[in-house]
């Protein structure tokens, strides 16, 4: 069973979302997703100030094996990106939930997390996809 931290929210496209104290959201890909993709070799991040709708593709992570689109979990504006990934994309493999974070967004609407999945629901999704 993959590591699915209880304090995070999830998407069906395997992103994790952490609500920060200032109301912004940090986004990355889950441990399960990094395991499926394998060794990361390239990350294309959005620019700070870019605005995205919910479920719009906003970044790309590439492993040796394949490229994978990252979707914005809620409508919002990018306020930070993890620039260290440019030279060290393998941080996603090493620690998907911390050093491997991708970007931070300021949601357009407050309390816009209703559409995201709970850890329990995400665990069920992972379970169903491995059968």
């Amino acid at each position: 069973m993959s590591d699915i931290p209880q304090e995070l929210k999830y998407t069906k496209s395997h992103e994790w979302v952490r609500l920060e104290d200032d109301g912004s959201l940090t986004v990355g890909i889950t441990e399960h997703a990094q395991g499926l993709l394998g060794d990361m070799v390239f990350v294309e991040l959005p620019d700070i100030g870019d605005e995205f709708e919910a479920e719009q593709d906003c970044a790309v992570v590439e492993s040796v094996k394949a490229a994978s689109d990252i979707y914005c979990p809620v409508e919002g504006e990018v306020i930070a990106v993890n620039e260290e990934l440019e030279d060290a994309p393998e941080q996603i493999n090493v620690n998907a939930y911390h050093e491997g974070w991708l970007f931070r967004i300021k949601p357009l609407k407050e309390d816009d997390l209703g559409g995201l999945m709970s850890p329990e629901d995400y665990a069920e999704l992972v379970e169903s996809e491995s059968h």
Binding site: G35, G38, D39, V41, F42, E44, V60, E62, V64, K65, A67, E86, N93, H131
Partner: protein
């Protein structure tokens, strides 16, 4: 698991015990990696690794007309290895239009016995085509699904395999590159050892009975040869400039525009191999494309099917394979590009057009980077 139809090699249990990540690979449940495909890649370039390649199709052709049969079936000339037991030859098998049905290696075993190893993904159509081409000739085709194959590859691997297997592969030490040896022919412990591979490193491909494959795998592992998955196999073959059937060439492509001209032998004018007249027509009319290696100069990853643009040409090229090269720490690929292309081209990656350097393949051989 719902994939109850996936085929398994005789080594599946060892893969599971060694922590393999298994994936559906053309209907086979195969290891893609055992943790990190990049680590496995370096293992082969720098030391010794091994691959389960039991999914590949081994076919024995016997009969007094085998050489005449292969002279027509294959674009390379079987005469180079006929009656030279132990010699191997790489060739394309073409259709009558000159398209590539498959690429394969043939091994001269004995007079009137040639072993052919073809791809797994093309097994059924290959066998059907090969059978259809026999006609009235005295050729007997026998698929050897009773046999398993393990590829051991890397600069230190022959020494380690020799230690691990001892007399089982006696004489393999003296094999020259692209030569093979049959040991204990016909006995239960028969071994077929070829000094061939798909990584650009030294090594063997070892064939034994299915029932003995797991034991051999474990003996090799105990000697320090690390298991490697098909992920590393792909990055290794790309660095080594070796084509992958289905990506880099297929029935719609000419070997002459797939980097395989060196394998098409027109020298014997009397040898009317399948597809010959089509290829001669192509040469007469002039080839439009050439097959090259690309190194991406900017950050990003080359992938199959990305468009390639060349200044001064109205034709568009296309990537046929692409990946990240662990040895070069850059993205590399193969592309079919307009014939006038030289030095630099542009590759369309998502919304950007990025510069790539055009090179003559291969990128890496025997641990050394050959391009700059």
């Amino acid at each position: 698991m719902t994939d109850v139809t996936l085929k398994e090699t005789p080594i599946i249990k060892a893969h599971q015990e060694m922590g393999a990540k298994l994936v559906d690979f053309g209907g086979w449940n195969m290891p893609i990696h055992y943790g990190s495909q990049i680590d496995e890649h370096h293992q082969v370039r720098q030391d010794a690794g091994m691959f389960d390649v039991c999914h590949m199709t081994i076919v024995d052709l016997r009969g007094c007309e085998v050489i005449a049969y292969l002279a027509k079936l294959l674009a390379n000339d079987v005469a180079k290895i006929a009656d030279k037991p132990g010699k191997a030859l790489y060739s394309c098998m073409l259709n009558n239009e000159g398209g590539v049905i498959d690429d394969l290696i043939i091994y001269s075993m004995e007079p009137a016995w040639v072993r052919v190893i073809v791809n797994s993904s093309t097994r059924e159509k290959d066998l059907a085509w090969m059978r259809s081409q026999i006609g009235n000739m005295a050729v007997d085709l026998n698929e050897r699904d009773d046999l398993a194959m393990i590829a051991v590859q890397g600069p230190n691997v022959r020494e380690l395999a020799g230690k691990a297997l001892g007399d089982e592969i006696a004489g393999a030490d003296d094999l020259k590159p692209f030569n093979a040896l049959l040991i204990n022919a016909g006995a239960d412990n028969e071994r077929f050892v070829a000094r061939t591979g798909y990584t650009g490193e030294d090594g063997y491909e070892i064939v034994c009975a299915n029932s003995q494959a797991e034991q051999m795998w474990n003996q090799l592992a105990d000697a320090g040869i690390k298991p490697c998955g098909l992920g590393a196999r792909d990055t290794l073959r790309l660095e080594a400039g070796m084509n992958l059937y289905g990506n880099d060439m297929d029935e719609t492509q000419s070997p002459l525009e797939s980097g395989l001209s060196w394998t098409v032998d027109f020298s014997n004018e009397a040898r009317q191999f399948n597809g010959r007249s089509s290829l001669e027509k192509q040469k007469e009319q002039g080839l439009k494309y050439k097959f090259v290696g690309l190194i991406l100069k900017d950050k990003g990853i080359l992938r199959a099917h990305q468009a390639v643009l060349v200044e001064g040409s109205s034709l568009q090229g296309e990537l046929t394979s692409g990946t990240f090269s662990p040895t070069m720490q850059k993205s590399i690929g193969f592309a079919r590009v307009p014939i006038e292309a030289s030095e630099i081209c542009q590759v369309a990656i998502r919304k950007k057009q990025l510069d790539a350097q055009i090179i003559k393949l291969p990128f890496v051989r025997q641990g050394k980077i050959l391009v700059s």
